[in-house]
Every structure is written in C-alpha cells, then in structure tokens.
C-alpha cells in the first residue's frame, strides 16, 4: 500500500499498463519531456521512449484521429487532452469515428482508446480550462465514460479503461489532483470493483446523494456536516457515467426514498437529469419526494473569481438535501 496523490496514481497506472502491454502508447501535447502540464506523465518518456510516449503537434482532432489509425493497427492508444475545453476540436473524431467504428464494422474493428481529460473547475484558471463536457459523450453510444474520485480508483479504473476493448473517456477531477490516498498497486485487476460499478462511498438512511469525480469529496463532507444535524446521507460515487450502474442507486433510493444528484456541469440535460428521470421511472413508488439536482448553472464557465458561486459546494448540497427532505430551504415558497 502506497500513499499517492491522484496524479501519481494515474502515472502509476499508465506505467503499469505500458509494462503489461507493449501495444499501449501515450499521445498528447507536452506529455513527453515536460511530463504533461499537470506532470501526470512525468518520467514516462524517459523510461519508455519517444515511440511510446509521443509528444504530438498541437492538434486535438489529429491526436484522436491518428489514435484511431493506431487502434486499427492493433495498438492501444492513451490520448491526453490537455484541458477539458480543448476537447471540442477533437469532438468529431470521438463521436463520429471512435464511438462508431466497432458498430460500423460489425465488431471486426475494435477501438481500445482511452482518452484522458482533466476536467472541472475550482483551480482558478481562465476560460476553457474548467469545463465539464461529460454529457456530450454520455449521450453518444459506443463510448464509455468514467470518472474516478480518489487515487485508488484513479489507478485501477485507468488500467481497466486501457484494458477495455471499448473506447473510454476518462475524466480526471483536476482539482483533486493533489489529494492523497492509499493505493494498492499490486492487487490484481480482477479483484477490483468493475470499471462500470457505482459504489456506496458512505452509507446512510435518510437521503441518497449521487456524485462523481470532483464532487464526491464535497458530498462526503456534506454527509459529515449533516450528521451533526441528525441527518444520515448515503453518498454514492457514480464512477461510471456511461453506462450508469443503476442497481445500487435503486437499492439505496428504495431505502431512503429521497434522491439528490450533484455535478459541476450545467443542469440542463446533464447526468442529474438522466439519473433523476430514470430513478423516477423505475422507483416511483418508493420516492417520498421529487428528485433534486444540485448542479452548476446553465452558463458559460464564469471567471475564476466567480466560480465558487457556480460550483456546487457543501452548503448548496445540504440545501438540496433539505429540499428532498421537505425541510426549510432556500427555495421554500417558490411556486415551482
């Protein structure tokens, strides 16, 4: 067991995957000599060479598109998109090519790409550096979308993503990059929870609070704060956004009768909308109140001096929990 930051855990996951399979290659801007702007790939070019840790020209569509060609050739590329807001130039290759080639070829051609995306806000960056574009990719069939929230999951889920024969969008919660945690580096992957599994991060009995990536830590803090008020929150770490593992969420809601979903992305057509709708369809008779979403606003990501207002924090989550419980809250008295 080692104590690693989230970046160190990802680095260790990349290293292990490259040692395990010579067909694993890394591609991205500045990932070689510099080790990535977040140093996630630090030292890998030195140890594996520039043929396996490829510093690419600055062209996101080409990073993804040439990875498609490499996958055709039998490689397992791991692409780094430098920041969330830079993924859009590569969007067409992801949704039109990466996502569809397996179906288009009736299963003959596999696209075992992993696309790493540092995402989310809270680090005081200028625009295009703090976005949460996950819903675009969740909406596209053929892709898997995952987001770890802690170093252990970051390590194992990355290795699972690279080993998967499906393309995986791996959203890294960059504001948690320096958070440390214990990581079991030598446990076999087969012993780890499946990549697509949602897990109960903290058990509770009154409200089910679903979070993923950067907000899991905030949700756990909210649960601790609520406990002081006698409210028991069950926190579920979604981990996989596509597919969503509904079984543990349904099991939880059937016990608590109340659901709150939280994410940094805007509310409209986000993960919260999807989970609230599905749980309403499948658990309607168990719900004591309407599902609640605690999300970012439907706005372009604001200047960093204002981002604390946009990002759901502990108090906004607790306000949402109060709404689910029918307790007085900031929206009390609003007609809708």
């Amino acid at each position: 067991m080692s104590s690693l930051s989230l970046t160190q855990a990802i680095n260790a996951g990349l290293r292990q995957a490259m040692e395990d399979d010579p067909k694993v290659v890394l591609m991205g801007e500045d990932i070689g000599t510099l080790g990535g702007v977040f140093r996630v790939t630090d030292g890998l070019m030195k140890d594996f060479g520039s043929h396996r840790v490829i510093d690419t020209p600055l062209a996101e569509s080409a990073i993804i598109g040439t990875a498609v060609g490499l996958a055709y050739r039998g490689f397992r590329p791991v692409c780094e998109i430098q920041f969330d807001g830079f993924i859009y130039p590569g969007f067409d290759q992801i949704v039109s090519q990466v996502a569809k080639l397996h179906a288009r070829t009736h299963g003959k051609v596999r696209m075992p790409l992993t696309i790493r995306v540092p995402f989310g806000g809270g680090i005081g960056s200028p625009e295009h550096h703090s976005e949460s574009p996950e819903a675009y990719f969740v909406h596209t069939s053929g892709l898997r979308v995952i987001s770890p929230s802690n170093p252990q999951d970051a390590y194992t889920m990355l290795r699972q993503a690279i080993a998967s024969d499906d393309p995986v969008l791996y959203f890294e919660p960059k504001r948690r990059y320096h958070a440390k945690g214990d990581v079991e580096l030598n446990a076999p992957l087969s012993a780890a929870p499946p990549m697509g599994a949602a897990l109960v991060a903290e058990p509770g009995t009154d409200v089910t609070l679903v979070a993923y990536g950067p907000l899991v830590r905030t949700a756990l803090d909210a649960a601790s704060a609520a406990r002081a008020d006698g409210i028991s929150i069950e926190v579920i770490d979604l981990r996989s956004l596509s597919p969503v593992d509904y079984a543990p969420i349904m099991e939880s809601v059937r016990r608590t009768g109340r659901l709150v979903v939280t994410h940094e992305a805007g509310k409209t057509l986000g993960m919260g909308a999807e989970i609230a709708a599905t749980i309403t369809e499948r658990c309607f008779n168990y719900l004591e109140s309407a599902p609640v979403r605690v999300t970012g606003f439907d706005i372009p990501y604001p200047p960093s001096k204002l981002e604390k207002h946009h990002l759901p924090d502990l108090d906004r989550m607790l306000d949402g929990v109060d709404r689910a419980l029918g307790r007085p809250n900031s929206q009390t008295g609003m007609e809708d």
């Binding site: 290659v25 043929h51 490829i54 690419t56 020209p57 062209a59 569509s61 080409a62 993804i64 598109g65 040439t66 990875a67 498609v68 060609g69 490499l70 996958a71 055709y72 050739r73 039998g74 490689f75 130039p89 067409d92 290759q93 039109s96 090519q97 080639l101 397996h102 179906a103 288009r104 070829t105 009736h106 299963g107 003959k108 051609v109 596999r110 069939s141 053929g142 898997r144 998967s164 024969d165 499906d166 697509g196 596509s242 597919p243 969503v244 593992d245 509904y246 499948r282």
Partner: protein, 380 residues
C-alpha cells in the same frame, strides 16, 4: 467577394505527369517511366479489363438506384483510371483508407457484392471485414480517413515494417482541417502514408477553384511532403505515380501526396443534379479524355487488343454486372434486433436493458407474451 473560380489560379500550373495521352499515344516521363518498365501486354490488358468491369459495375449500380433497388449510389464514372491504377500499385499488405466513392477499389480488393451494395441499399454500414481486405470501411465524413491512415502508418513505422497506408480523398476534402492535421502529423513523424487525392473537379456543386487557390498537389510542399500531379485519366501514369509514392513509403522516405487530375462525369451521388451547376461543354471536353477509350486506342494501335478480345472483356463485365444485380435484389432485410449488435465490445448495462425491453415489445406482437407480462416486464 470575388467570383467563384473554376481552376486554381493563384500559382502557375504544376507539371502534370502523363504516360498515355488522350489520343492513346504513349509518351515518356522521366520520373514515371522507371516504375512501369515491367508493365507488359498482359498487365495493360489487366488494367483495361478492370476499368471496363469497374465502369460496368458503376453503370449497373446507377441503374439499380434509378429502379429503386438502392437508396443511393456515388458514381465513379470517369474516375476508373484513378481507382484501378492506384489499387494495382498496392500490395495486399498495404492498408487502404477509402472514401465512399472507392467502390471500384473495394471490388478489386476482393469485396463481395452483398457487402458493397448493402451499404448503398441500407442493409448495413459496411459489408466487409477490414482485416480480410486490408481496407477500412467507406468513410462518409469528409477527410476523416486521412488521419486514420496517418495513424496507421505511424504504427507501421513503430513496428519497423515495410508496408504502408494509403488515404483516398477528394479535392473538396483538402479544405478540411483534418486533412491539414494529417499532413502535419505525417510529416512530423515521417509516416509511410500516401495521400491519394482524386481531383474530380467538383465537390457536389462546388468547383475545385473554390477549395484551393493553388494546384492541390502544390499544397503538400508546405508541409514538407513531396507533391505530384498526375493525369488521373491515364491509368498507366496513376499506376506509376502510386508506385513512386509506395517505394518512398516502404524505404523510409515518409509521406507523399498525389493529385490525380480526373473528372466526375456523373453526379456527386444519385441524389444530385449536376446540370444545375456545370455546362455541357465541360462534359464534352472531359469525355475526350476518357480513361477507357484512350487505353483501348493505345492497345488497338499496338495490335494488343482485337475485336474478339474486346468482346470477351465486355462479356466478362456483363457477367459481373449480372452478379451484382442478383446479389443486390436478393439481399434479405436485416433482422430488427440487429440494431443492438456490436455497439460495444463488452456488455453495456443500459443498452442491454433497452435491447431486452424491445425484444419483449416485439414478442408481444407475436403472441408470445401477454399484454400484462409486457407491461410488468418493462415497468420497473
């Protein structure tokens, strides 16, 4: 806004390499001649036969579309020399990344008609195993495949293999950002890739002069890639030019760009009406440069093709067309549940549930499930 230009005008014309003129005369080209020294009578006849067959396929498919048997067809009429010459220059190990128009290339690579026609009839997205033919699926998104070819070629280079990837593209594709990025990557990593651009002069209704102010092959040098312009209606010249690029790729010379100057005689697709955007005189001008007639004249003048041989080739083409028609009209509709197949390589729980719900829904029409069962089964 300036008036739409037809031909690129921003730079003096490039030398267009040619080995057989429009009137069937064999001419010499210092660069290309060494690459066709082995092409004897049999090889020339083979090129000719393939062009006749490919044209016959195109005519038959166009007719099938007009008869309502195909949803759409992208004619290759006029581009036979570019398709046949280029594919003849490839080894079977070389990997082809085509557009949607390379149906002649697919046929010559070994694709079967149910597979080729299924795409255009609406039965399937692609009808061949890319690894059996070493040929990717037809690419509809313009220019996307140039990146795939470049990436594949980067992989070849990493493995140290002496093979290559070839990307087919049209003149319109050269306006796409992906094509620019592919050439940047190809040059940066010296990937063994050939960019084979068929300049057929029209991107649906837009003339090539709208896509490029300079000869298209001239763009390549800006990336550090040799660019060659070849008469795309001269099958021997196309064969030689692609062999030139292939030798560069196989010997560590990196990427090459070939502009095959040809002409699309038909519409962009059968959904298109070219009489709205181009004139009759232009068609007549290009008809005089026809790729089949010039090689037929050349062969006849050299005493290599008599009427009997010509008739034999045409009979062979007719037989291929009959096979195509039969495969097309007898193709069964796909089973409904196959819409869920192969979306993922591994199980996907949300999709699995949708599949099961639809299976039960369909079964309810067949009386295999009572209405109550169906509601109960899909309600949770």
């Amino acid at each position: 806004m300036t008036q739409t230009r037809h031909e690129p005008t921003g730079q003096a014309a490039m030398k267009m390499h040619q080995l057989i003129t429009a009137d069937g005369t064999r001419v010499h080209d210092e660069l290309l001649d060494p690459f066709v020294q082995d092409v004897d009578r049999d090889a020339l006849i083979s090129l000719y036969r393939d062009m006749v067959v490919v044209r016959r396929i195109d005519v038959e498919a166009t007719a099938l579309q007009r008869q309502g048997q195909l949803a759409l067809w992208p004619p290759m009429l006029g581009q036979e020399a570019s398709q046949v010459g280029s594919v003849h220059a490839m080894d079977q190990d070389d990997f082809i990344f085509p557009t949607y128009r390379e149906n002649g290339v697919a046929y010559l690579r070994g694709a079967k008609f149910p597979g080729i026609m299924g795409t255009w009839r609406g039965n399937m997205n692609t009808g061949w195993d890319p690894y059996q033919l070493n040929m990717a699926t037809p690419q509809i998104i313009i220019g996307s495949q140039t990146l795939h070819a470049t990436g594949y070629a980067m992989g070849i280079a990493m493995e140290g293999r002496e093979t290559l990837a070839i990307a087919y593209l049209g003149d319109g594709a050269t306006s796409q950002g992906d094509v620019h990025e592919s050439m940047v990557f190809a040059a940066s990593f010296q990937a063994p890739v050939i960019f084979f651009c068929q300049n057929n002069h029209w991107a649906i209704s837009e003339p090539v002069g709208l896509q490029s102010a300079v000869p298209i092959a001239g763009r390549a040098q800006g990336y550090g890639i040799p660019g060659l312009q070849v008469d795309g209606n001269d099958v021997l010249a196309v064969l030689a030019a692609v062999r030139w690029a292939a030798r560069r790729a196989r010997t560590g010379g990196g990427p090459s760009f070939i502009e095959a100057v040809t002409y699309r005689m038909g519409p962009h697709t059968t959904a298109d009406d070219p009489t709205r955007y181009r004139g009759v005189t232009e068609l007549e001008e290009w008809a005089a440069k026809d790729p089949l007639s010039r090689l037929r004249t050349h062969l006849a003048n050299a005493g290599m093709l008599d009427d009997a041989a010509q008739a034999g080739i045409e009979a062979e083409a007719d037989a291929v067309a009959a096979e195509l028609r039969d495969a097309c009209i007898n193709m069964p509709d796909p089973e409904p549940m196959t819409v869920f197949d192969d979306i993922y390589a591994e199980d996907h729980s949300v999709l699995d549930r949708e599949r099961e719900q639809y299976r039960r829904y369909l079964a309810s029409f067949e009386g295999q499930l009572g209405a109550g069962q169906q509601v109960q089964g899909s309600a949770s």
